[in-house]
Symmetry: D2
Subunit: 337 residues, 4 copies
């Protein structure tokens, strides 16, 4: 295959960005089709990007002979079904996280993937494709920091998006599933290990609305991994300064920190507020290149007949861990996995 | 009283620094006497600082009519007894942490303090007297960061001091008692609250020798405080870059970080290693002013007849919490306080 | 025109990068032809990028009916001639700096551009297309820093490239023409003004070889601009830490600094060297996106029938100023322009 | 001498700070007398610091047998006379900069100093006593950055002090004499060399009031030193962010930067303005320790019978250079020294 013909499903903020990227920033691929249940959004995006094949039903797109692969940025609840449908129709599949909204769904996705070993399946853990995370991972893998002692990772959304988060709360699965999954993925990727114990706390510090969904607006967990690495994760929805995703890995011989200041760019401003860095506004700004890189990797895998580093089992495992964090948070108990 | 005549006990690294500070950097006070069991050390320091009254027995110094107050930087195991002796002799007492090596000892110290309400007793939680911590505390107290959500604090000693730490391990009480007590004090000071649950983990990542003392070389704990604030503490003995004491308080409206880079000074070096900051080497360098400020506060309290903000009960409480962390670490269980 | 068919000339480091970018990272454009006098280099690049039209003579490519535009990354001495040839053949032209190696050549280029007002001509001042410089420029233009007081800009190449710089010295035109032109362009762009006086100094601090070309390894100049803004430029070939391009604009109401630490990415390393940032290695790494953005702008101008912000006259003006700096450096005199 | 009895003259902001420091922060010294023409200020300070010997005429204090040394923080125009009077009376002298308001006055001061080789004379170039500057100087002296290529130094006062600066303008001698003298001293100290050529520019960017005194609100100069080092100095009165004193020394093998961010302390604030450092407000805050250290050095020299590193000739030389900068600024000409 010289050029991968992609159909992209879901035209929310991230879905639209994927569509834009596929249309113009991914090599050896083309945006051949678009799908969204919202006909207005669909027309707008398809017109803008010059895409003639438009679908409001995913199954129709999945079965179209004119596409080779699908990119899923649809609502989480639809992922498993769409993954199965697309693979059954012989299409390569790139799916945004989560793999499924329950572990049972993840297991179904595993079966669908196992049934088509000839196709590429990849899950969108985009942080692994961010150049800074990759650079740090290379150092850690090369042994430059020695043995990992503490892995700490934060995912903080800006307070200004709180209304949307509150509205979405009943469907989000809670902060561990909605936000911390990326940190969980990173923890497994950097340590090469799995959690053994999980303790999770948090609450509604500013927005009591989350309580109705048994969720908080800020939560954290401390886990001991099987290789003894301590893992501390924090997820918050009330960041005052911007979109903050930072990670620190303390090793016995060195420490790496990724994005401890979530700077928007290389500009420093000196004014009446002091010396300051303006911050990233959202995930699309922070991970702009990573979103391109991950889909490029998907396309490269298809063309070169190789398999992505991230497997369907990583998706299941991350979901299992996130659900365990959620259970620990809800029960207040220490959970041994 | 115009000038407080101080007798200082213990001439280890910190004790010697206290002596030097009292001799020349504290206003309205004088270094009148020195005490150490090691006669050689005692002579050397007393000669250097021009102190004529020299004692190898603490009780002799405590009962001397020529001093008004004692500063204790003696071995931890001696604290409670010396506090009681000095107070009984009518001397004001400044004691380095810990208040006692067991909670029972702390309770005894409480009684000794309660028996002499006319005297000043103060405990050496020096971080409260560091200008950066004070500045941050003022902001938090003024409500500038809103409600505290996450309090995170690290105490890391440089790897290069590991031999001393290993030798001292059997007597240190473990990392939570030896190192994290300052972070526990800060957590209580910044949040104005107390822990409700404690989960602690860690291990020997580089130095198995600590296991013999049921200790680790790196440990951490996650606590939920009664006001819902999440508290994450980390203590490590293998820092590759220097003496690292950093704290972050994430609130609903703002965040403050103290010393996230443990820079030695304001010099930045650009060379083949990149753009870099050299780091503080040890607690004496990092907290040089704080050690002066705290003893100045002690002296000011004596002269002005006021009581220090840090009470004997803070000492007991911090010890109780550190022991709970230790118990949690040793048992692997979640402890509800 | 839907898609611009580009022929790229010159396959040095930057030329190759332009070719790679055009082949895969520029929207609405294609890499249709490649040209280099070195047949081996040409074959290698063309094979790798799948380009079938290959030329060793620029005139042949310029006259090819199968291309719409040329991108010039050829040796500086060839620029003026190639610009004229391509425009005469009816091709849009994007040329790397400098416009010409003498001011007379720049004037010729002006005539060639003026003769074909129907074609797009653009000069590669890529820093204007770097997102951080753009962000800072928007702030300055919006009046956020008030009136510009001091514009300071550094261009420093890493010491490790010194052998190449020494070899190239006889042909480089000196540091002001070879390196400071970008800073001169930025100074005019940020201040909207022109130099009135020029004083320039420097020398061979580490590498006497440059003296043979009346050049230094580190030079600087201080200029007063007509709007009174002070402009200080520094160019160096012996940077110990990496490729360092930084700019500061001090205004009466605010200050912006761009890249005062030339950090490679968002990773911070804490190890025995302290807390450090690793640095960009070269211009290709630092300005990777800017090189894409500038050619994208060129393509957008062609398709949308608009003219680039950077004109041929900017190229002449920058050369005139750089030559004045060179004259000031060589004579040791203050020059009033 | 065991303890130096000091009489301090001048109770402006800096003078008062010196008095406070001598009273309580300098070892082996005591504040024995105070002098100010303003009787109210004098009484207030003397009462507060418990000083019984009070003078409104400097000559009276200088001739008092009860003091050993004087510290001068009086108006600049009085320095030379007071230096001479005090030395003639057999007192050691520490004088704030400048040595004199004209070079002729400086020469007189030289004679007065030369006439009393038995006494200590020291000039208040406090930056040499700042721990960060000292640390950087030690690195440079040890050859860690190779040969100095560019020395760049800024002195910026916050805009909020502009009213005072305007009022003082007719008497300040201009920015080079009033502000840049410290940078000139640093340039000589770090490079061990002297200026050969001087070009200076600047103007009134925000406050035309300075023009009446032939001064600007922001000025700069570029000098070539005899050892070829390039020296760029900038002085500004309109800093938006705080009191900014920063220095960079670029060498052939390394670079050091001192206080490139004029951070107030180690606190970082993350809020709606981004990630920010609050800045030092004024010289008293930034150089608090340096002011103590320099007077301590003065006292140590007296007691130990040694001579300060900073000599009276340094004072003259710095004044000569500052006057040359002023002349260059006023004439617009390049001056060869």
């Amino acid at each position: 295959m010289d050029k991968v013909r992609i159909g992209s499903a879901g035209l929310g903020r991230l879905g639209l960005q994927h569509a834009v990227n596929i249309a113009g920033r991914i090599q050896n691929a083309g945006l051949t089709a678009l799908c969204d249940v919202d006909g207005v959004k669909l027309k707008e995006a398809a017109d803008r990007l010059g895409v003639s094949r438009r679908f409001t039903r995913f199954e129709d797109m999945a079965s179209s002979p004119e596409i080779d692969a699908v990119v899923l940025a649809s609502p989480s609840a639809l992922h498993t079904g769409q993954i199965a449908a697309a693979l059954a129709a012989g299409k390569h599949v790139f799916s945004e996280k989560p793999l499924g909204v329950t572990v049972a769904e993840c297991k179904e996705a595993e079966k669908a993937v196992e049934a088509r070993p000839d196709l590429v399946f990849m899950l969108g853990f985009m942080r692994r494709f961010d150049e800074s995370y990759r650079y740090a991972h290379a150092k850690v893998s090369a042994g430059e920091i020695g043995k990992p002692v503490l892995f700490r990772s934060y995912s903080q959304d800006p307070e200004k998006f709180i209304a949307g988060a509150i509205a979405f709360a009943p469907h989000s699965g809670g902060q561990f599933l909605d936000m911390a999954v990326h940190d969980i993925d990173l923890a497994r990727w950097f340590t090469g290990s799995e959690p053994e114990t999980v303790y999770a706390i948090g609450g509604c510090y500013a927005h009591p609305e989350f309580a109705a969904s048994k969720d908080g607006d800020n939560v954290s967990c401390l886990m001991k991994f099987k290789n003894d690495c301590m893992v501390f994760l924090f997820a918050g929805r009330t960041a005052p300064h911007g979109y903050n995703v930072e990670t620190e890995i303390i090793g016995t011989k060195g420490i790496v920190r990724i994005a401890s200041v979530p700077q928007k760019n290389l500009v420093e401003v000196l004014d009446s507020h002091g010396v300051r860095r303006e911050c990233s506004e959202n995930f699309l700004e922070r991970f702009d290149s990573a979103y391109v890189n991950e889909v490029q990797e998907f396309v490269d895998c298809i063309i070169q007949g190789k398999k992505p580093e991230v497997t369907v089992y990583d998706g299941t495992r991350v979901s299992e861990i996130a659900y365990t964090c959620k259970a620990a948070f809800e029960s207040g108990e220490l959970i041994v996995m």
